[in-house]
Amino acid sequence: MTLLKVDNLRVTFPSDHGPVDVVRGLSLTLGRERLGIVGESGSGKSMTGRAILGLIPPPGSVTADRLEFEGTDLRTLSERRYRELRGARMSMVLQDPKFSLNPVITIGDQIAEALKVHRSLTARQRRVRVLEVLEAVRIRDPKRVARLYPNEISGGMGQRVMIAMMVVLEPALMIADEPTSALDVSVRGQVLDILDDLVRRRGMGLILISHDLNTVARWCDRIIVMYQGRVVEELGTGQLEAAKHPYTRGLLSSVPRIDETRDRLPVLNRSTL
């Protein structure tokens, strides 16, 4: 079943030298699957995620031939209706829990806030849901953690709290923008595992935005490679080695390997791309 259909998406920002397209004609369809979007800083990958959620701030503008989520045309949606969708049906996990959690509200209250806005539950029911969802993101002592403030938990736990906040309303689509790049390697795998588990069990669609080609490849059903606002290549799982576009090949070869013996790493030659 198709969750999301995007045709010819363009995101434009004005600049001193006239309008600049940061996303240029991107098309994709997403079912209940894991899609990876990979590219460098400035490739337009994060802007794509934000455009789908209707979070491009003015003076930026978004146009598309089609932008459809669960049959709803997002292009003509009012801000009020969009807000009802966001959080409830589609949500976003951001890179750094340090900056995305409110420092003066307890973890439990922050998660409960989404329930307060979107659902009519009693305080007791909300409390139960909060503990359930903390357990779902593998937080061992949810009762204790719910009472803590963000500065009292580690980065890895913070990111799990963010995920808990996003899944408490059981959205159909989750967009994770670099969900692990602020985390230590030792907890990255765990966070990805949790996301994976949620996608499988709750049948969510997931868009994972990252600059880490290898992680995304190991982890997603399909990968889109973006460069300068365009999709340059689309690959299935395990096809990474078969990538043809010089940009993808360049990115792959510029990553050092654990058994590295090259004297110099190849660098992307942007003038030939």
Partner: protein, 242 residues
């Protein structure tokens, strides 16, 4: 070139480093790897004089360190930090940033030295009077490396120098560091959690866990995935599985 013996660091009740000892010879590139909280950055901070409540013995370039010898230390050892956005003064041009150490130490030929350093780290000379916000992340990291090298120290401490960068830019900075080390016979002490970077840039490494060195090995052992301790094996496995 660097000797660390029985380094112990306590913050309040907690001991973060327990009798850590290792040494790095001149021209060698040595890595400290481990998870967050293993104490690897604390070792760098002690060597750079950023923390003073350590015990044990530290020596850089045949000079024993003790708290309070900062100015002399600056010509022996310099540090490159992880975040190129946070480690440069936002209102100082590249010229200000690179000239400052020369002014402090009263060195002549500032003009020529700044230009030579821009060339050495691959920054165009026309960038000389730009401010950090006019540069990309990779260019800023080049400035941070240039700043560290202005006083010609024999030792560079590198704290996750590429983990905030895109992979394609990471490759450029890693190549630059490797080239500079060869040209200037620098000694590197690198802190990272990224084992492939160690494989590319280093000769030897020490694996830290909870403030203790678990294992010291040559980089060949890392490439072959043959560490002696279980913890070393686990790190390699995690790195492979992402």
């Amino acid at each position: 070139m660097i000797r660390v013996s029985d380094l112990t660091v306590r913050f309040g009740q907690t001991t973060v480093l327990h009798n850590v000892s290792f040494s790095v010879t001149g021209g060698e590139s040595f890595a400290l790897v481990g998870e967050s909280g293993s104490g690897k950055s604390t070792i760098l901070k002690a060597l750079a004089g950023q923390i003073t409540n350590w015990s044990g013995a530290l020596e850089i370039a045949n000079e024993p360190l003790s708290p309070g010898k900062r100015a002399r230390l600056a010509r022996k050892v310099q540090m490159v930090f992880q975040d190129p956005y946070g480690s440069l003064h936002p209102r100082h041009s590249l010229d200000d940033t690179l000239s400052e150490p020369l002014i402090i130490h009263g060195l002549p030929d500032r003009d020529a030295r700044v230009l030579a350093m821009l060339d050495a780290v691959g920054l165009p000379r026309r960038f000389r009077f730009r401010l950090p916000h006019q540069l990309s992340g990779g260019q800023r990291q080049r400035v941070a490396i240039a700043r560290a090298l202005m006083l010609d120290p024999p030792v560079l401490l590198l704290d996750e120098p590429t983990s905030a960068l895109d992979v394609s830019v990471q490759a450029e900075i890693l190549n630059l560091l490797k080239g500079l080390r060869e040209e200037r016979q620098l000694t590197f002490l690198l802190v990272t959690h990224d084992l492939p970077v160690v494989s590319f840039l280093c000769d030897r490494l020490a694996i830290l866990k909870s403030g203790r060195i678990e294992e010291e090995a040559r980089v060949d052992a890392l490439r072959a995935g043959r560490f002696e301790t279980g913890y070393g094996q686990e790190l390699v496995k995690r790195s492979r599985d992402g």
